[in-house]
């Protein structure tokens, strides 16, 4: 009895994988869609805010700041994309992106926009 109730630490109970007709559950499809949207849009937001923060922080060396900021921004977007699909919980992914975005935004404001 207890075996059936035991699940891996932090995981929801397993959801039914397929509908009666044999296709993938709608819940699964929406979850996948959400992850991609989060990875694309949330990642883009994190990347943009990173670009602005780095450029503002090194504004005295204009060309380096702009180039470095953009190099970093694309790396951040790619990293965020990977990370969103690495973490198990969508809520954790969302929270993590939001936390990063807000932290960098705060840094940007501090660096003197």
């Amino acid at each position: 009895m207890t075996n059936a109730l035991r699940t891996s630490a932090g995981a929801r109970p397993a959801a039914p994988a397929r509908t009666a007709a044999g296709g993938l559950a709608l819940r699964y499809r929406l979850a996948v869609l959400y992850r991609f949207a989060l990875a694309l849009a949330g990642g883009y937001a994190c990347a943009s805010v990173t670009a602005m923060a780095i450029a503002a922080a090194f504004a005295s060396h204009r060309a380096s700041a702009a180039a470095g900021a953009t190099l970093a921004a694309f790396l951040v977007h790619a990293a965020a994309f990977i990370w969103v699909f690495m973490v198990h919980s969508a809520a954790k992914a969302t929270a993590g992106m939001a936390a990063y975005g807000l932290a960098i935004w705060a840094l940007f404001l501090y660096a003197g926009a």
């Binding site: 932090g10 995981a11 397993a14 979850a31 992850r35 990347a47 670009a51 380096s64 694309f74 990977i82």
Partner: protein, 545 residues
């Protein structure tokens, strides 16, 4: 992401992400990758597509090439504000002169009147109206028929997906060193996996470079926030970037409108100047010669090398300046400081991506790596189908999604090759004086591509691939024959005369024809995966054919 939402390890998660980030836009990515790879040789493609220019056989001595061009310019444009002469080189068999008026900036990248000359006789040559290789080049990052900004965003998102696919592929590939040389032919899905791994890993630095730099090249559209934070607009950034590599210049006041026409004077012998530059650079090829204020007392000559100083220094070419009256070499400016690190990395990535100013050997290596990359994308797309074929066969009839991917694979991969061939055929078969022929060549490209898609939809997968591969192989085999029949320079002549821009196109066509024929033969002999399982009786009739 598992359908039952159970937790999975990082390798499994990345394997899932790699499959889907690769598949969703995989067909577009293949098109971008292949047309981009061809774009490394867009100049040669354009040269082949203008057969009227094939008659130009440059004399071997650059000094003589320069004199012939100057003779023409002295006859026709002696009072110009500036002349720019682009000498023929390993990528071009014609001389191109640009004439600018008195008040135009001689160093501007655009503007002026361009005239193509026969390098041996100096007579102007007119050629048919065609987009040439520039169509393939533009297509690969701006597509066609879409508003520019939309197209760049679509390509940008696709590039991001590609970058994510590469990273997730690296994470998921467990034995990247142990499997480095592993290729087991003739084993179905395993062979396709090996091929996908090999083409990915063997050119991995290139794939990472080309994809990340692709993002950078689109940055003014998709990630302008860094630049906009410290600059008013992108032009200021570009000027700053150029300034980081420009040599310290004493006469920077020699901009366009401020020059005053000097008194008439005799221009020095350009041939001697070119010969001197050749000696100073120890044989490194000369790209272009600019004569500012020719036939006046203020005449100056700038000789620019063909190959850039370094990919880390964008748009920086070795330049020698000469007095336009005496032909004496002027003291060189102090060498430019190296660009700062971030700018150097940015420069190197985008300059390598564009192949700007790189010599022909590096250009061929970039092209080869691009072909390997295209094979990587193609093998990945095919692998998706091969992997799922057994479970599709168990179902009895193929699902819509699977059928969609099957047809799209054939149309995107083999169909694109046919589309490019159609573009080249239209170039030669449409009349040279036809109005709007440049657009019709492009229409032929898309019509052929759509026809391939239609064919792939109505025929079973194996027949579709065989038919499209046979068409592509035949098309590319005939192209070098069509070349001389439609006014171009035949392959044996272009090799003997050293017109490598034209010869390499024909040779590449033959190589692609052999490649398609090889794949066709392999596929026909293979007989289909189901044919091996007929003992089990679960065979779809179409696979047995």
């Amino acid at each position: 992401m598992r359908p039952d939402f159970k937790p999975e390890g990082p390798r499994q998660a990345m394997s899932w992400l790699h499959t889907w980030s690769g598949l969703i836009l995989g067909w577009l990515l293949f098109a971008i990758f292949l047309t981009g790879t061809l774009s490394f040789f867009h100049q040669e493609i354009t040269a082949w597509m203008k057969p009227e220019l094939h008659r130009s056989v440059p004399p071997p001595d650059p000094a003589q090439q320069a004199r012939i061009a100057v003779d023409y310019l002295q006859k026709r444009h002696p009072d110009a504000g500036s002349w720019t002469i682009q000498l023929p080189n390993e990528r071009s068999n014609v001389t191109v002169v640009t004439v600018r008026g008195q008040d135009e900036d001689p160093r501007a990248r655009r503007g002026g009147t361009r005239i193509t000359l026969d390098s041996a006789t100096g007579e102007p040559l007119a050629s048919r109206d065609t987009r040439g290789g520039a169509f393939l080049f533009r297509f690969h990052f701006e597509l066609y028929g879409l508003p520019r900004i939309w197209a760049r965003w679509i390509v940008g998102v696709a590039t991001l997906f590609m970058f994510v696919a590469i990273i997730s592929g690296i994470i998921t590939h467990k034995k990247i060193f142990a499997d480095f040389f592993t290729f087991r032919p003739g084993k179905g899905q395993r062979s396709w996996m090996d091929a996908h791994n090999a083409t990915a890993v063997l050119a991995l630095p290139f794939h990472i470079m080309i994809t990340f730099s692709g993002l950078l090249l689109l940055m003014f559209t998709i990630m302008p926030w860094g630049v906009n934070q410290v600059y008013e607009n992108r032009l200021q950034f570009l000027q700053d970037q150029a300034r980081t590599v420009a040599p310290v210049s004493q006469d920077s006041g020699r901009g366009g409108a401020r020059r005053v026409a000097g008194a008439p004077a005799q221009l020095a012998d350009l041939g001697a100047i070119v010969a001197d530059a050749g000696r100073a650079w120890q044989g490194a090829p000369i790209g272009s010669i600019s004569v500012i204020a020719p036939n006046t007392a203020r005449a100056q000559v700038e000789v620019r090398a063909l190959h850039g100083t370094s990919v880390a220094a964008r748009f920086s070419y070795p330049i020698l300046r000469y007095d336009g009256l005496t032909g004496a070499r002027l003291p060189e400016h102090a060498a430019a400081p190296s660009p700062p690190a971030a700018v150097a990395v940015y420069n190197a990535l985008i300059t390598l991506h564009e192949g700007r100013g790189v010599d022909i050997a590096l250009r061929w290596l970039l092209f080869l790596s691009g072909i390997v990359g295209s094979a990587m994308v193609a093998s990945g797309l095919v692998l998706w189908c091969v992997k799922r074929l057994p479970q599709q066969q168990k179902r009895g009839a193929k699902s819509f999604g699977y059928r969609f991917v099957e047809a799209a694979n054939a149309a995107a991969i083999a169909g694109l090759a046919i589309a490019c061939a159609a573009f080249f055929y239209a170039n030669r078969l449409l009349p040279a004086d036809m109005a709007g022929r440049a657009d019709y060549e492009i229409h032929a490209f898309f019509i052929a591509w759509l026809a391939a898609l239609a064919y792939a939809c109505v025929r079973p997968a194996r027949q579709a691939w065989l038919g499209l591969l046979a068409t592509a192989g035949a098309a590319y085999a005939v192209l070098p024959v069509l070349n001389p029949l439609t006014g171009g320079r035949a392959l044996w002549d272009s090799i003997v005369l050293g017109q490598w821009a034209i010869a390499s196109f024909d040779l590449a066509c033959m190589a692609f024809a052999v490649l398609f024929a090889f794949i066709f033969c392999k596929l026909r002999r293979h007989g289909g995966i189901a044919a091996r399982k007929d003992a089990r009786g679960g065979m779809l009739a179409e696979e047995a054919a």
